[in-house]
């Protein structure tokens, strides 16, 4: 790192920062785009079909249909960039970015491996170093912004289906945020800190000490709320193809639609990273007290991909909720459950000492 920095005439800290940003964001982008393909293959597997397996590089190299990603990307780029006449132009163009940027930004505080020492300095494997004072408040703040993408896309399209989808999605996101926050607060409480690095190191390497075991109720609430936050299928009220055409992205086409779709998958990656960090020990390797850096990264990625797969799995297993059912679940089941979780843990803590 030092030689690289001196070659580029910058300080090692700055060079490390740039390297981290490039690695994290390109990895999340890549995973998000691969997951569009995983979703299609996964749905095919669950529904006893084959799924996209035809696209091939140079007409020959098939690699189980992975070239579909490239084909989709190229197709989206060369499609005509339609813009309906009655849209609000500025906001119509802004909305895909408003959806995509927060979905990527949320990943910045997540530590994706243990920190290591090289040349006397400690290098942390997360874009924002621990001790930045924001901690887990940051992904929650950024997650709250994801509503704007959907809301602005819906409103600027000037289409009744769009606005219906946007309204439903934003109402759902705002109502599930409370239950989610309370579930996270009880983790802050038992950990005694709100920095993701602290939360991970407090969980240790034994799987039954990870937060998911003592706070199973909190995990259920948080995971359910993540489905509502990412607009994934049991709660995908933003799109709801069978009810409101395609919801907030009805009027979108070409690369703008692709950005909106990718935002959903980037959001999914961030959501599963949050679940892993809060409840499954982050980069901790089961039964290995001091893992090497590579092993810790591998462990994090395996957990991340597992939860990302669970998102796909549930999407193709459960039917969509009705709107009032989802609201009832959010306010009358999830919120009381996370409150019970909070109070029980507060009581246990006050009696444990």
């Amino acid at each position: 790192m030092d030689t690289l920095a001196s070659l580029l005439h910058t300080s090692p800290a700055l060079a490390w920062m740039v390297v981290k940003i490039v690695i994290v964001f390109s990895a999340v982008m890549l995973l998000a785009s691969v997951w569009t393909w995983v979703e299609r293959r996964g749905s095919a597997m669950i529904q006893d079909r084959i799924g996209p397996n035809r696209a091939a590089l140079f007409g020959r190299i098939r690699i189980i249909g992975l070239a579909q990603l490239l084909a989709d990307g190229i197709k989206f780029f060369f499609k005509e960039d339609l813009e309906p006449t009655d849209v609000n132009r500025g906001l119509f163009w802004l909305a895909p970015f408003l959806a995509f940027v927060p979905a990527m930004l949320g990943f910045a505080v997540i530590p994706f491996g243990r920190d290591f020492v090289s040349g006397g300095t400690i290098y942390h494997l997360s874009v924002l170093d621990p001790g930045n004072g924001m901690g887990m408040l940051y992904p929650m703040a950024i997650g709250g912004l994801a509503v704007y993408g959907v809301l602005v896309a819906a409103w600027s399209s000037n289409n009744k289906w769009s606005i219906l989808g946007g309204m439903r999605a934003s109402a759902a996101m705002v109502s599930y945020e409370i239950g989610m926050s309370l579930a996270v607060v009880s983790i802050f409480m038992t950990t005694g800190g709100y920095d993701p690095a602290e939360i991970i190191s407090a969980q240790g390497s034994l799987p039954w000490h990870w937060n998911v075991v003592p706070q199973f109720l909190g995990f259920i609430v948080f995971f359910t709320c993540m489905f509502a936050e990412t607009n994934r299928l049991p709660f995908d009220f933003a799109e709801g193809e069978s009810e409101i055409v395609a919801g907030f992205n009805t009027e979108y086409g070409s690369m703008k639609f692709s950005l909106l779709a990718l935002a959903e998958y980037a959001h999914l990656m961030t959501a599963s990273a949050l679940v892993v960090t809060l409840f499954f020990g982050g980069w901790q390797v089961p039964f290995v007290a001091h893992p090497s850096v590579g092993l810790s990264i591998l462990s994090f990625v395996v957990k991340l991909l597992f939860f990302a797969w669970v998102f796909v799995w549930i999407r193709w297993t459960l039917p969509r909720f009705r709107y009032d059912q989802m609201m009832r679940l959010g306010w009358k089941a999830m919120l009381p459950m996370s409150m019970v979780n909070l109070v029980v843990h507060a009581w246990l803590m006050s009696h444990g000492r």
Partner: protein, 164 residues
Amino acid sequence: MFLAFALITLLGALGMLLQKNIIVAGLCMVASFFGVAGLFVLLANPVAAALQIIVYTGAILVLVLFVIMMLNSHEEEPAETSRPIQRWVSVILSLALAVGAVKLVLASKGLQQLAEKGAAVPPAVTLQGVGAVLFADHLLGFEVAGLMLLAAMVGAVALTKRNL
């Protein structure tokens, strides 16, 4: 950095005032809130910045925009007949507020300390610190605010859902 965030805040606020389209005005307000959050970070108070974004941008403004979108159509509303007295009263009120704010800042302890000791980076505020202050020094205010909000919520439900 300070200039950038200050510019974002001011331009956002200005955009909010001058925009005729009410949704665009709301989004300008979001930009302005972001500028304020950035200023909080520069003041070594990342907790306030995060809470600013969570509470104002993530919750309050979303609800405001939600209501606006549910009620209105896309037309920009024509201005009503202007009443000069409103304009003058508002100018006087905002001037009074500005003078009061400047006076408060100039008389604050922090500024005196800055003049005596010079600028030193204060330790960053943590969530633990905020919690301790809320529940130790300002417990009464905190509880009263909580009770008020609960009463407001119950009142709103009672008013809208008469036949529950």
